[in-house]
Amino acid sequence: MLAARPYLAAFRARFQLMLQYRTAALAGFATQCWWGGIRIMVFAAFYGANEAAAPMSLRDAVTYVWLGQALLALLPWLADPEVSQAVRTGGVGYDRLRPLDAYGYWYARTLGWMLARALPRAALMLLGAGIVLPLVGLDAWAWQPPAGVTAALLFIVSLALMIALATAVLMLANVVVAASLNERGVNAVLAPLVIVFSGQLVPLNFFPQSVQPLLHLQPFAGLVDIPFRIYFANLAGSVALQSLALQAGWTLALIALGRIAMERVMRRLEMQGG
């Protein structure tokens, strides 16, 4: 426990700092309501045209959209801006001097940054789409509760893995930023990849049948598709457990990869600034 204290402190400091940006959270919430609304109307139109072709019910698709908007800030599409700043200003030198595991320290801080941005948005979205919509009689368009107790429990595990996986992806992005001194290139590549392959754009099951096996095995599926489908029991039983194992496997693999990459980058890092 004692060994974990500095990492927890780093996490808490970042988390509390990011929670201060309330206007940003409100603006994000408004944007996400609009986005979710459009997406749901588009889905409803396609379901109206040809419901038989759909791999999940419209109610589930609506829940999928709201979950996606609520947890949008958990998607790893932007490298941690503080890392690029530290690399550019030379502040990374202080990080190297700390008697801590460098990977673990950045991991904890990036995790705090991500969770603090996600939490207020998720709470607002749950209030709006999960409670207000049913109360005003728009139950068909609301965020539904999980499919059952089992689904809920599995979803909690999957959500935790999703967060760990997202942070591991961000850490890889951070390492590239440290090596290239600039975050714009990484973000330009990462964002579209994550949006498409996580299933944030459209559920992975909506893509043509021929590419599905590949889509369901790649690491980004664990960021949206797997946890959300577990939530409404589209993935259940042994398939759900396999998916959780896939999420966990990719998380460990990406953390290992990140550690090796960080080790190499740090060994030949040139300090900026004076």
Binding site: I38, F46, A191, L201
Partner: protein
């Protein structure tokens, strides 16, 4: 120097600055192209799985997508100064300097940072336009080309109007309100699907509130030579992009009111 020549100077200064970093500019343009073209992938996936919707095929929907995205990319090129107006001009007091110069403030802001990377969206939208023309197929005679250009012009005016309004709000809030993204990026998102698939209240909002449908849906019906399933008279369709210019004019009325009440935030 007249206004147009001055604007040309602004543009060339900004382009020369970006030409200093050719590799970075090129990569960011490619990145912008990739990032903005994923939406069409989503549209394609939905059409591929579900088939035509509301009487529209993928090719026809791609035409909406292409024209709206081209219009937005041009507006995005021209209005960077308005987009960052709150944080970079009002809060810093830099707008004082703009006002001291004997030139229209709007012209100076329009010439502020013309970003080459924004061509990324235009390139992918152009590619989608070619694809849509093949799929439908569209016979691009002079009348259709003129109508498409006119539609895009209306779209540019509308998106520019939205960004001017966003900048105008900064006179009161001192911030750049990200909520305006709902109307710009969110507007592109909404207008790239045919209007008749939306619920009635949303159709009214997009027609009479923020007239996105007037610079995408209605004129595209005329290009495709189709009657409006919602019943708008056919003679009216080619004239609807006027709404974009009307919106821009109204935005500038609001802008003037904002400039009149501008108080500097200090040195």
């Amino acid at each position: 120097m007249n206004a147009l020549a001055l604007y040309g100077r602004y543009v060339s200064a900004s382009l020369r600055a970006q030409a200093q970093y050719p590799a970075a500019t090129l990569m960011l343009t490619v990145g912008h192209c990739a990032a903005t073209s994923i939406e069409i992938l989503g549209v394609y996936a939905l059409f591929h799985r579900f088939g035509p919707v509301g009487g529209w095929s993928f090719g026809e929907a791609a035409l909406f997508y292409a024209l709206v995205n081209i219009a937005f990319s041009v507006a995005d090129l021209l209005t960077r100064g308005f987009e960052v107006f709150g944080p970079e001009f009002v809060r810093t007091g830099a707008f004082d300097r703009v006002l001291l110069r004997p030139r229209a403030a709007a012209l100076q802001l329009a010439g502020y940072e013309v970003r080459l990377t924004r061509f990324g969206r235009m390139i992918q939208a152009g590619a989608v336009l070619v694809l849509a023309s093949r799929l439908v197929p569209i016979d691009w005679d002079a009348a259709r080309v003129a109508l498409a250009a006119w539609t895009i012009a209306g779209g540019v005016a509308l998106f520019a109007g939205i960004l001017v309004l966003q900048a105008t709000l900064a006179f009161w809030t001192l911030e750049s309100l990200e909520v305006a993204n709902v109307l710009t990026y969110g507007g592109v998102q909404a207008a790239q699907y045919p209007l008749n698939i939306y619920a009635a209240w949303f159709r009214r909002l997009l027609t009479f509130g923020v007239p996105l449908a007037s610079v995408a849906y209605y004129p595209v019906l005329a290009i495709l030579n189709r009657p409006d399933p919602l019943g708008a008279p056919a003679w009216l369709l080619p004239f609807t992009p006027f709404a974009g210019f009307a919106f821009l004019a109204l935005s500038f009325v609001a802008w003037r009111a904002g400039v009149a009440r501008y108080a500097s935030t200090g040195s």
